[in-house]
Point group: C2
Chain length 221, copies 2
């Protein structure tokens, strides 16, 4: 049986899971407080609660680890968040820089049937509009290997699956030049001097992008 978590508890768990994934080690109180724009004292209270519910393991002054049960619960929230983001872009014509705030609310709706049907409506997507992988009902990722556009060889091509930078500025820039998750990109030419490159999008128009941009777009075959 899965634990019952409140709105706030789900938010904490999700953030802690992400921090733990990034760092690979135990997550500190301050790191959590920073991420959630809250105070360290509030975090201490909450991690005690989550710990007593079995989703975290916590030792005073030593930070927290996410338990197996916690991972399952966190991945379900992440799954819901990413499915809703996909829905907002694919069905409601949101721009991909407009979806986060709304998905933060929608991710807490409790209805397994709703998520099952949403997943079906969207055709069981594997990636959200930012290219982040969507875990399946069991919390598994079906990820193909991917690499930054920067590493592509001349005349080679790949499909956009992720962007590393989530800022509205970057996403709007990509929209403007016609790059989206799923777009096919072929490397035409590369300037060794500054790392900038000319690429072709969907076998149609070609554009020039900087090294910085090419490092933030990730491709798969």
């Amino acid at each position: 049986m899965t634990v019952m978590l409140s709105f706030a508890e789900e938010n904490y768990l999700k953030v802690i899971y992400h921090l733990a994934e990034q760092s690979g080690e135990s997550v500190s109180t301050n790191a959590i407080a920073d991420e959630l724009n809250t105070k360290a004292a509030s975090v201490t209270d909450m991690i005690k609660r989550l710990s007593s519910k079995g989703v975290l393991s916590y030792q005073k002054y030593k930070g927290v680890l996410v338990s197996a049960e916690g991972k399952t619960a966190a991945l379900q929230v992440i799954r819901k968040h990413r499915l809703w983001e996909t829905f907002l872009v694919a069905k409601l014509k949101f721009n991909w820089d407009e979806v986060h705030e709304v998905a933060e609310q929608l991710e807490h709706i409790k209805s397994p049937l709703l998520i099952k049907r949403l997943d079906e409506l969207l055709g069981h997507p594997k990636f959200d509009p930012h290219g982040d992988p969507i875990p399946d009902e069991n919390g598994e990722f079906n990820e193909k290997p991917k690499s930054p556009l920067f590493e592509l060889g001349i005349e080679q091509s790949g499909i956009v699956v992720t962007v590393q930078d989530d800022s509205p500025e970057f996403l709007q820039y990509l929209d403007k030049i016609g790059i989206y998750i799923g777009a096919k990109i072929k490397l035409i030419d590369k300037v060794e001097f500054d790392g900038s490159m000319e690429i072709q999008i969907d076998n149609r128009k070609t554009v020039f992008i900087s090294k910085q941009v090419s490092e933030n777009i990730w491709l798969t075959d």
Copy 2:
């Protein structure tokens, strides 16, 4: 400027609005408590809060009235609830007796853009799957006059717009015999003895229904 209401406050206001519409007079503390499965003491606390926010007017021991501002806020929640119910049935293949609980959660999501786009996706529906009218952005209903199937004359016909009874049993029965919101119904024959009738659905099959059923199905021209 519209007032900012919490999840719980929105639920109270919505229920009070419905009760006030039904009765036409001020709403009693106990009536609200019954409807929300809560205690009278909790209701007293909440109506004081809602009153101080200006959405209700409240006099001790005299019940509450919904203010103009309260009506606007309540109708926005009702609009969201009914749009989500319509979405669940039209796009996610929910049965109309499965939608209420989920819509109760979804109605509290805060995003004007989301509702605008959802309304567009659904083609600006005027009625939800139960036939209840959906108020527009300004809280207005565009309702045609309607009357119970029971009052139809022989050989006359109408379109189903509402069902009075919302119980799963009744809705499942209607599904079974092929009646839905939007179905065309023609009265073939009526038995004066018990008020039962033979009707034709969508110019195709004919079925017999009891007086009780015919009183719960409402039609428009």
